[in-house]
Every structure is written in C-alpha cells, then in structure tokens.
C-alpha cells in the first residue's frame, strides 16, 4: 500500500513534464502568431521582429521549451505577455477565487446529488425517482449562461438581494464574499449534482442487489442502517471517481459561469490567455491544474481503498 502510493507520487513529476510538453507542442500547432497579436492595431514589421527576439519566439522549439522549463525549475514562471504581470502572481491571486468557488460548488453538488441519488434508488420507480431524475437532468441540460443570467435578473435586478456580479475575497469580507459567490456556485453545483445523483442512484441499485446487503437485510437490520452502512458505502466508488473528475473540471472549466458572474478565476484566465496567445500564462496555469488533477485522482484511488479495503490487494 505505502509503496504503491510512493510509486504514484514518484509519477507526479514526470506526468507534469509530459503535460507541459504536450501543451507546448499543441500551442505550436495552433495557428496564430503571438508576436502578431502583441504588435497590436498598427503592426510595424520592425516591432514584430523585436517582439520575436525578446520573447525567444525566433529560437528553435526545443530551446524555447528548455528555456521555459529551466526558469520554472528555478521557481520563475515568467510573466504574462499581455499584461506583463508575473504568472506566479496571477496564479496566486486567482487560485483562492477558483478554489473557493470550486469547493462551494462541489459542496452544493454533493449535498444535493448524493442524498437525491440514494433516495432515488431506495424509492426506485416511484414518482420521487422520476421527479428527481427530471429535475437533475433539467439542471444538467440548462446552459450555465442561461441559468446564470436568469438568476442575476431575478435575484439581483428584481429582488436586489445579491450583487449581480464581481468578486470579494474571503479575507476581505466573508459575508460579501459568500454573497458574490453563492449564485455562481449554485449554477456550477447544480449541473454536477445531476451527475453525482445519477451515478449514486445507479451504484446504489447495484450495491443493494449484492449478497452482503441481502445478508444484512436477512439479519433483520433496519432498512435505514442497511442503506447507509452497507449499500451506500459500497456505492461510493463511481461517485468518488466522478467527484474527483468534476472537482478538477471546476478548476479550469468554469469559463462561462465565471464570465457571466465576472469572477476572476482560472477558467476565464486560461481561455483569454489561449485567445491572446499568452503562452506563459497558459503553461503556468496548466502546471497548476495538472498537479491538482493528478493529486485528485491519487486521492480518488486512496478513497477506493478506504471504501473497499480489499482493493489494496494488488
């Protein structure tokens, strides 16, 4: 067990390197010349040439990569070509925002999705089951921008309860911070809740058909105890898998929601960076999201063993 996780930890760095090479290569495959984008409205050939030299864009690709990775190893992620701010600083200002939003959305998703899935499975093929599925899937198929704008119009413009958009850091004013993030967190969380709900339901149904649950029932244990202690525990594997993946996606995939609510997070930053060919920002953010993804999947594997101790066997 220990050695397995040591092995996994040892894979983290090579994986991140792989990701960085992959992203570096894909960037070159994208059409579009960063120097041209940076030269602006009145591009002067001489200025374009200067920009190429300054940003090492005129060097061979492997040299560019080694230059970048060399700096990264010394703790220097470079600076944004578009706004000149150091990438490390950009990441540090946006990571707390993104993390807060992701955690809030995830908590909402788990709080709605898992209980609804369990109840759906227990009350299988009843009105409750179908209604829960319908509501959940409605949430999943509603585009985030639509739900977001509707919430803003209703809650902020009509009722005046919450600020329509923007972000206040937790450290500055936690009440305001929650007020600015609760709507986007709900928009993000409700779609994930549907995913978790459907997986929980299915896994619960499988678990409740297993022998040990039947045995527990036969022993005359109360239904609630059977459900919670035996079935749910064993139903969690797909939920943990999806939870880890969705939490990872929240870090960089919440673009539209961040845009609608003007939340300065990772998703918006990476999309803007790609569109502006601001490569140091793209690479810097990918380093962070890759690390998080790998750690989340590692965590998921660890949780598997907690859920089903026999999994540690191999």
């Amino acid at each position: 067990m220990g050695s397995h996780f040591n092995r996994r930890l040892a894979q983290v760095v090579p994986t991140i390197l792989l990701v960085s090479i992959l992203v570096f290569g894909l960037q070159q495959l994208m059409p579009g010349d960063p120097a041209l984008v940076l030269a602006g409205e009145t591009p002067d050939p001489q200025v374009i040439a200067q920009i190429r030299t300054e940003l090492w864009l005129d060097r061979p690709l492997p040299i560019q990569y080694l230059h970048w990775i060399g700096n990264v190893l010394q703790g220097n992620l470079g600076f944004s070509w578009r706004i000149r701010e150091p990438v490390a600083q950009l990441i540090l200002t946006k990571l707390p925002v993104t993390a807060q939003l992701a955690v809030m959305a995830f908590v909402i998703a788990v709080m709605i999705g898992v209980p609804a899935g369990v109840l759906s499975a227990v009350k299988r093929n009843t009105v409750f089951d179908y209604a829960a599925s319908a509501i959940g899937l409605a949430g999943l198929s509603t585009p985030n921008f639509w739900l977001g704008i509707m919430l803003i119009l209703l809650v902020s413009v009509q009722l005046g309860w919450l600020p329509p958009s923007g972000y206040v850091p937790l450290t500055e004013d936690w009440r305001q911070s929650l007020a600015t993030t609760i709507m986007p967190a709900f928009v993000l969380g409700n779609a994930i809740a549907a995913v978790l709900m459907r997986h929980t339901r299915s896994a619960m149904l499988t678990a409740m058909g297993q022998d040990y649950v039947r045995t527990a029932r036969a022993k005359g244990l109360r239904e609630r105890i059977v459900v919670i202690h035996h079935a749910l525990r064993n139903a969690l594997v797909p939920v943990v898998t999806l939870g880890a993946l969705e939490l990872g996606t929240l870090l960089s995939g919440a673009v539209l929601t961040e845009q609608v609510f003007s939340i300065p997070g990772f998703g918006k930053m990476i999309v803007d960076a790609v569109f502006n060919r601001d490569y140091p920002v793209v690479q810097g953010v990918v380093l962070v999201t890759a690390t998080v993804y790998i750690l989340l999947n590692l965590l998921a594997d660890a949780l598997y063993v907690l859920i089903n101790p026999r999994m540690r066997a191999t």
């Binding site: 894979q11 990701v19 894909l26 495959l29 704008i149 149904l205 898998t241 999806l242 790609v274």
Partner: protein, 297 residues
C-alpha cells in the same frame, strides 16, 4: 442508438437460463419497464423528426425574413422566429440531426476509447495502469480549447471533426469510470474464484468484470450526451461543429444569449429540446442498465 448498443448482452452472459437467450431476457426486462419504453419512444420520435424534418415542416430552417425578426410564437410560427426571421420550430427539427449525432457519436467514440483502456488499467494494474492513468491525467489537464483550435485549423471545419474532438477529450472520463468500477469488481468473490480456477485473465475480464462496469458506464454515457450537445455549440464558434446557417440546438442557444429577456423563446425551445432528448436517453439508459444487470433477475 439503442440498436447499436444492444448487441452487448451476448458478451456479458453469466448464467443464462436454459430456455431463453440472454438477449431475449434483456429485451423482456426492458419491455417490462414502461418508463424506459416511453424514453425509447421519445428518442425514436426525435430520430424520426430529425430524419423527416424536410417533410414535416412547411418552413425552411435557413429562410430568412428581415421583416419578421424575433417574433413571438404565433399560429404561423409555433415557436416564433429567430434573430434572422427564421422559423424556430423548423430549426429545432433540423437541429435535431446535428445535435443528436454530435451527442451520440462523440459519446460512442469516448466510450469506445475509454472503456477498454479503463478495463485494462483497472484489471491488469501495474505498468499499463500507470501509463494509461498518467496519459489520462495529462489529457484532462490540457485545455480543451487549445486542442479544438489546433484541430479546427488542421482538419478543417466540419461536424465530424467536432465529434472527434469531443469524443477524444471525453474519453479519459470514461476511462476513469471504467477503471474505478473494474477495481471494485475485481474484489468480488466470484471473480477471484474464476481466477483461482485458472481462467485466462482476459476471459475473466470480459466475462466477469465487464458486466459489472456496464451500469456506471451507461449512466456516464447518457449524461455525457447532454454535455456533448452543448459542447458542439461552443466548438462551432471555433470553426468546428455545425456550419452556419445550418442549425444545431447548441448554436441556437448561443445565438439566443443576447436576447434572453427580449425574446425568451429563442432559448426556451432549443433548451427544452435538449432537456427532453437527454431525459429520454437517461430513461433508456436506466432501462438498459436494469435489463443488462446480471443480478437483476
């Protein structure tokens, strides 16, 4: 959709009853669930509408009318007209083609790549697991947008390329789901028993593990359809996806974004179509899941 997914039961027979074939059993189990049958009916209606759209609707989905832009639903236009004066109902019907294809085909690509890899990864562990797992991690953390822009430039704009892009990028999720379920299933007594009896590994994997990973994969597939339909629309802005002026539900939603308050019907009807289709696929998925569950007899 259902026709292509049905052959699976033959492969996952565990202990077939001597009288009926497992396929017949599964069909029977499916048919005994009215909600699943209703879901299948809705899917079939959508497929029919998509196929017969030119015959059913009196309007062309691309015929513009500058004097009738963003008109509310009326007797002449049941779902109103869009920002270019086109009939929304006709566009929803024609859009079904692109959106259903984008949803179903890309999910099949994703599952086709992801499930076998997840099974290998979870069952054989070791080096294969490490390699597949890390590649999946890398793919998950690489921004989708970069891949999409590069693909749009190299493969050229088309709906097929959008399906490939969506399918490939959704594959790691299927891989992780299949792998998790495999790890779990591999600890079952009967799997261990089958191994102990000296069955070849691949045989154990296909006979005893695969049936156990069908339920979560089926759930994931029906959910991913919704995500793929919406992703197609974002890709169309990068040159991938359905080409204008031809409609898809997702691109209709995107166009509606500017008019959410002034012309809500522009978002509501394609949105409702996506919801209905996704709901129907999920009900069918539930039915299939139950019908194929080896223990649910």
């Amino acid at each position: 959709m259902s026709a292509t997914a049905l052959p699976a039961p033959a492969a996952i027979r565990v202990a077939a009853s001597p009288v009926s074939s497992p396929l017949a059993l599964a069909v029977g189990r499916f048919r005994s669930r009215p909600v699943a049958v209703a879901g299948l009916a809705v899917v079939l209606i959508f497929v029919l509408v998509a196929a017969l759209a030119p015959v059913i609707t009196p309007y062309s989905p691309i015929a513009t009318s500058w004097s009738a832009i963003r008109k509310a639903p009326s007797v002449a236009h049941w779902m109103g007209t869009d920002e270019n004066g086109r009939d929304v109902l006709a566009r929803v019907m024609f859009g079904a083609q692109a959106s259903l294809l984008a949803g179903v085909i890309s999910v099949m690509i994703a599952a086709g790549i992801g499930v076998p890899l997840g099974l290998i990864s979870g069952f054989f562990r070791g080096t294969a697991d490490a390699l597949i797992g890390r590649i999946a991690d890398a793919m998950l953390s690489c921004p989708f947008l970069i891949l999409a822009i590069a693909l749009a430039a190299f493969l050229g704009p088309s709906l097929e390329n959008a399906m490939i892009a969506i399918g490939v990028t959704a594959a790691p999720v299927f891989m992780r789901v299949a792998r998790g379920a495999t790890l779990d299933a591999a600890t079952n007594e009967y799997v261990e028993a089958a191994r102990a009896l000296g069955n070849p590994k691949w045989r154990v994997a296909i006979r005893h593990i695969l049936p156990n990973i069908v339920p979560p994969v089926m759930v994931q597939a029906t959910l991913a359809i919704a995500q793929a339909i919406i992703a197609e629309a974002s890709l169309s802005f990068l040159g991938l996806g359905q080409q204008p002026p031809d409609p898809s539900w997702g691109s209709m939603l995107n166009a509606a974004q500017r008019f959410l308050t002034q012309a809500p019907w522009l978002a509501i009807f394609p949105g409702a179509a996506i919801f209905l289709a996704v709901l129907a696929f999920n009900l069918v998925g539930d039915g299939l899941r139950d019908a194929l569950d080896p223990r649910a007899r």
